[in-house]
Symmetry: D2
Subunit: 348 residues, 4 copies
Amino acid sequence: MADESLSASVVGGSGFTGGELLRLIDAHSGLEIQQATSRSYDGKSVGSVHPNLRGTDLRFSDPEDLESVDVLFTATPHGVSMEQVDTFREVADTVVDLSADFRLDSEAQYDEWYDGHSRPELLDEAEYALPEINRENLVGADLIASGGCNATATILGLYPLFEHGVLSGSEQVVVDVKVGSSEGGAGGGEASSHPERSGVVRPYAPKGHRHEAEIEQFLGTSVSFTCHAVDMTRGASATCHVFPDGPVSKGDLWGAYRETYEDEPFMRMAAGGSGVYRYPEPKAVAGTNYGEVGFELDPSNKRVVVFSAIDNMMKGSAGQAVHAANVALGFEETAGLEFQGLHPVGAP
Amino acid sequence: MADESLSASVVGGSGFTGGELLRLIDAHSGLEIQQATSRSYDGKSVGSVHPNLRGTDLRFSDPEDLESVDVLFTATPHGVSMEQVDTFREVADTVVDLSADFRLDSEAQYDEWYDGHSRPELLDEAEYALPEINRENLVGADLIASGGCNATATILGLYPLFEHGVLSGSEQVVVDVKVGSSEGGAGGGEASSHPERSGVVRPYAPKGHRHEAEIEQFLGTSVSFTCHAVDMTRGASATCHVFPDGPVSKGDLWGAYRETYEDEPFMRMAAGGSGVYRYPEPKAVAGTNYGEVGFELDPSNKRVVVFSAIDNMMKGSAGQAVHAANVALGFEETAGLEFQGLHPVGAP
Amino acid sequence: MADESLSASVVGGSGFTGGELLRLIDAHSGLEIQQATSRSYDGKSVGSVHPNLRGTDLRFSDPEDLESVDVLFTATPHGVSMEQVDTFREVADTVVDLSADFRLDSEAQYDEWYDGHSRPELLDEAEYALPEINRENLVGADLIASGGCNATATILGLYPLFEHGVLSGSEQVVVDVKVGSSEGGAGGGEASSHPERSGVVRPYAPKGHRHEAEIEQFLGTSVSFTCHAVDMTRGASATCHVFPDGPVSKGDLWGAYRETYEDEPFMRMAAGGSGVYRYPEPKAVAGTNYGEVGFELDPSNKRVVVFSAIDNMMKGSAGQAVHAANVALGFEETAGLEFQGLHPVGAP
Amino acid sequence: MADESLSASVVGGSGFTGGELLRLIDAHSGLEIQQATSRSYDGKSVGSVHPNLRGTDLRFSDPEDLESVDVLFTATPHGVSMEQVDTFREVADTVVDLSADFRLDSEAQYDEWYDGHSRPELLDEAEYALPEINRENLVGADLIASGGCNATATILGLYPLFEHGVLSGSEQVVVDVKVGSSEGGAGGGEASSHPERSGVVRPYAPKGHRHEAEIEQFLGTSVSFTCHAVDMTRGASATCHVFPDGPVSKGDLWGAYRETYEDEPFMRMAAGGSGVYRYPEPKAVAGTNYGEVGFELDPSNKRVVVFSAIDNMMKGSAGQAVHAANVALGFEETAGLEFQGLHPVGAP
């Protein structure tokens, strides 16, 4: 149990998830920011990159000058953390990594989906950061791997159906994901430029998206996964089309979701009702660590349609990381993550 | 064969599809606009409602004062055309209806999907407006039913696979559609208001969308259809996830699409390649009558993912109507539909 | 000084500013929500209208059933509060009104700019809610008038120049404002519908905007004010073009702004520097109570260009109201208003 | 007078204005495309870069392999055309340059606003491409300089007031411009990346914008010019705040604009009226060569507010270039420029 403030640093503080981590640490009653590293912006104010943080005094440090700290959040490109993990663990008791480097359980998976792994012996030790499916193992964990945003949206949507036997793993599962432009990261590139990227419905990973590996690892089944870029900056929305073998009622579905999520501080149900907002929507959770799930039963096609929405930068990344750190370190689970989101909000 | 200009009028000229019809007729070398009716805007200039037409002199007429004309385009709410069809056919030799009233073949379908039909004896007579699947019957047709936008996107995407035996009709077909806000029509409403509608990924027809009926009618199989509102004004994009029974190669797929569409003046293929735009995108066809189709093979899931993109106001409505009229009346198929679209373009 | 929680209610809780008030009260350590009234949504959950508040249990009450409370926030249409102010003050010791009804000092101004005033004797008693220019008078105030969003943006931008003698009141002042769609309020209407409203640069108040009255009242000079709708949901940005009579240096300007705002908890300067964000931007303050001001000197035209950006729903409305209530009631000024904003964020 | 098709090539065909030129030439009854050069995309299909042109067969050529042609459009970065102008004029009888290199009349201006000029002797010979102010000199011209988009919007808005004596040149003129992201050109960059660029109201040229030079050249007075990036892809909107010395009536203003523009094929007035669209809007002219101007009289501030809207890629660049070429070569002025624009349209 954390009695007093712990110190926290962010490696890769000038990226989008790095910026979110800085914002969350700033609002966290139990954490105090020590360093934000950035090779490119070394010495510059954090607010010059993240304008929402213009009110803070913090300046970026050189990543070579990493100081000892209680918790280290590493928001580095994939492949970097596995190389630097010894340094990270040397300076910090608890390391929360936001890359893909420690999400999967086995070296074989990294060989299949990524370019292999240089420290496979740590894979077993690392804990997946999603408390909704891994809370027990996160308590006291010292190497934590924050999940992929699209995988998180999908897992949160489908996990209750597997957990409660609505799906067995032998059924066809189609996952059609829509994501915002922040997934592409800071810095630009032609496909991410505003004239090319705005207003799109663009298939960008029609098949073989690496997040399939995480989904399969936690749901125990492969999924037919396709990802589209749509016009928003934050948000990931997964529509899962599943075809249970046997008959399923709305009551069964409500039961499965309620039992799984009713005590979860960050999960909300939205399935029907009246008004404009009847199902999960990325807008409704933008800027927050909430996940929303909902469903509809389509009896004429023997189909269940599951909707899941998160903010890819939060529940799908920085928020999940802080949530997991809270569990690991004994903080209130919601510490630093109290923001309720906005209404109205455009394309956040 | 049309030797000289034919006169054309638009019933329901102040709506979105009505406005598009006026624009297309204005640019059509063989049509001359006679009337645009609007009860609410009677006497006002067309440009006061459709600002792109500010340069024209046309004013809205009272729908009661409908004059004789060669071709009548009726852009009325569903249920209106079946009541007024006798009047329409009295004033015009050729009637092209843009509502759902004459799209389906049988009274039973209207009983199942709509509120029944008051003139079922005309259903057999009416011809579906999509030349790609019904060109032969459109020649000389005098009652034409322009298709639904989501149905059109889906049919264009899947038709070649059924036509060439890649799919037999017994397979699971999931259709996940993303559409723009113009589908909601002119006039507003809370769900369509900018603060609520912008930036959404909103499931608005999770199941039981009426366009399923048209799709089933032309593909001969039911589909698991779900529709989402996304942040664009124009455009409908259908991602179809299908699971052929037997083995399928990329060559089979290219073959099926090429044979079906290679002579079509408005169909384009986009399946892979380099650069930012690799698959069909609503942006790439915005404002035009083009349809784009493409696909990807996902062998590890035995899946074919089909992408289809149209402008819902054009290929999915007004453009399709003019194209069908061109076929029916013997004009060049592309007359009035020559616009190539824009690049770059935001969220058109 | 507030030792324990005070109770707070919101009249007009289903509107946009009403929803923001509910969010802010929920996050306020010293306030506890008692009622949110809404005639249309009486009995419905607050989350069914404001999806970000889906996690709360609160339901809307009938406005006729208003209970006694410590602080009452009234987010009613203009003209309603002046009629109901006696009821409001009967149920609450402190009333914070978010309409225009008590912003101006004199009956004559309401005759000139609005449809007159039914309770002019209260105008002198009411205090304008902007602490940056009226903090002293807000302490202990029991009738507070939250300012207009466009007026707030303009006043915050120009006030330091008048306060420090850079402007005397005799100069030409042009204020060119750009605002988001939430200014139109909830509910829709054709001009606010997504297809018509998205992507616009639309002059909607070329002259004679009512906020001119507030601006004139606090700056002591008339301004040439023009307002444009642009494509964002939240935000108001004022660009003020002013032409000081005498020579002005950058140092003079920095001095004026720093002296005025350096101790203000919600004011930030942004004037030049490097990177993408060099000047005030609505995006940088979206969802927060911050105001940003900055400037540029244009010697060749003897012009100072002042930029000012706020979130119209926050600093321009609900946030300003809570800030003023904090001052009036002796809370920490930042209570309930700690949110730092997001980066990246699209069109919030 | 052009009796048969002339051949036309585009230097810099892969950029945004290059793509628009290709689209316009394709639709032009009197021009036939010969080459589109691009160093980076040499050999690739034009449609792989400009997806709206996927239906054409044209491939990019190496700029070193420029062939003889009747008209050459050069869409090169500033500074390139002045270096290569001899080559351009050798291969083509008529050269229309879309860079800034030949827009200004004197070497001194290039020294002041740009990095000097290497071929100042050609400045006098080159004709400014805007027919509304320079038609007479464009007839038969063989070196044409297409204007800057912001300058064009401003000049079109203010020119009639100077021409008809409403303004004399001694008055204060404030020009507040809002522009879309296509002004930044193809290729990206951090400030143009979608997450940073969407939803902005961003001052990007608070003072000293180079287009001031063109404006001054044609209006004969300096202007206080400030430019903001807003969330659209295409479009430039200028709001001009001017303060005439003497009394001005609405009739005077209507008179000035009507006399100047009533015979112009691409100019439209929008000043008041009813409905959603009362003033010039970039949306209303998106994709077209139209310019819209309008105004409002603000007697209490002795101000005239002028609104001007164009598509920066069209009237502000490629469309202006083709229009000028039509005048120079004796084509119908509207040839290739017949597109009427769309309604509804989002953020084109």
